[in-house]
Amino acid sequence: MLEFVQLLVNALAIGCIYAVIALSFEIAYEATGVVNFATGQLVTVGAFVGASAIAYGHGNMPVSYAMTIAAMAAVGLAFFVTVYLPLRGKSVVTIVIGTVAAGIAIQNVSQLVWGPLPAVVASPFGGRILHLSKTAIPFHSIFVIATAVILMGCIWLLLYRTPLGKQFRAVAQDPEVAMLMGIRVWRLHGVTWILVAVLAGIAGLLLSPIWFIDVSMGDALALDAFAAAVIGGFGSIPGAICGGVLVGLCEILGAAYISSAYKDALVFLLMIGFLLLRPQGIFGERIGDRG
């Protein structure tokens, strides 16, 4: 039972990280129509930029984190200019292949910069552990869950309670009409990609003290986040959280009680199950186009 509680907290933490990645993926899709297959690689870049910033920051965590987020904003802007603008308006497959190719290139550049060896990064809380009766819960897990929930809340406020959010949703619904209404669609798309990269970067930062990070982890992460997005319901923030937590639970509990080798296959089965039985996901999709 004690073990179960610890696993549960662990699963929640991992699930929250998947939720943040899923949100990055969904914002890109909703606002710009791009299915971003380079999401996982952006998370990897975030994790490694964070590792470097922490190494140079001499333990000043807030500064290191702020530097990482600023760097990821620059990465997002670069992605917007070099990948999104050339691929804008092309067919779905062109965009899929284009972002996959961008992911391959980003992964290779990451390997050239940071090397192929896995790295371990300190948490802002070190290895401190919270003892509740007999269960031991790492502070970092609580930090991850709190950060993810607050972040999701902020994104929700941004999208539904600010003029900028209104513009976002207008562009997501119909870019042409939005343009006719005087919304600067181009600028908004630029902001979207910055947000996409920053979210991926935060996910990388939160992840790096939990796992060994290595430059080839992107695809596996992205698949789990895609599964979370599908399960929760595309384009829904509560959906991303629910989907992420379900995937986290499926993975951690599946690895503990069924088979650690087949944990990713379990996630895939869960996703296929949802696609077949409840294709709109837990929280549904407003614009249904998946048939």
């Binding site: 092309k90 292949i97 190719a101 992911g103 290779n108 698949l223 296959a265 895939f268 296929i272």
Partner: protein, 316 residues
Amino acid sequence: MTSGPGKIAAYVVGALILLSLPYGISSYGLRVLDLSLISAIAVIGLCFAFGYAGLLHLGQAAFVGIGAYASALLAARFGLGFWVTMPCALVIAAIAAIIVGVPMLRLRGHYLALATVGLNVTTEIVAKNWESVTGGEDGLSAIPTIGIGAFRFDSDLRFFYLMLAMLAIVIAIGLAIRHSRFGRAMIAVRDDELACGASGVFALRTKVLAFTIAAVFGALSGALYAHYANYISPSDFDFVHSIAYLVMLIVGGETSMIGAIGGAILIGFAPEMLRFVGEAYLAVFGIGVIVILVLMPEGIVGTLSRLWRSRVARHV
């Protein structure tokens, strides 16, 4: 595409180029060429699923792997020859494609893409962990080479000519399917699924058929690979290979089987052509793919034939 004599001439020219390819390249180059032609068969399969039926299929390597493992295991366990194990492998892949295709092909667009990625990753996980059958990460070795009677296709040159014969058969079958009722149905489903349903074409059935044809060609490619390389492991059939097949198809032009071969050879030799960039190979490759996607949306073959046609038009 031009029709009649023009098309036949194009095939003859293509065949002549292929026949003369082994001369004037190094023995290593010949090996790369053989591997490219093996990939080309999987790419031609993908031409049906993606090019004709419009399915965003990112899991072709899974079926290449199923074909390779099935053929290799049948050869190892029962001592059967390639000409027995290969058809069995194709049947196994077809059954697998129907079983996963019927539920999965109800999905569209990027949902289908995600599901096929998941399929590819899951197959890889099974190949890695079902050690008693697949040998796990170590893979399977000592897979026998292909032979007819006492004759073995055991050199790269001999295998090259075997591949040409195989490709000729594959293209003949491919063209027959393409110009049959089923081929037209696939293109109709790609262009307008709703109208298809209204005119009596069962969209799902047609998609499953296209997916299964892709799987069978993929499995043929896999079986040939297993018996050519004599060794297979799960990493030969990972997601990266599925992407490579799709890139080969798009570089060649999505709906052209000759283009598929051209794309497979071009991408097959890309590591050699880009050797000078050293460790940055994948970065250059990724950027190169984006550049091709942006500048030549019809693929290299499509772009060349358009340029050729406009030249001819100017001179007439």
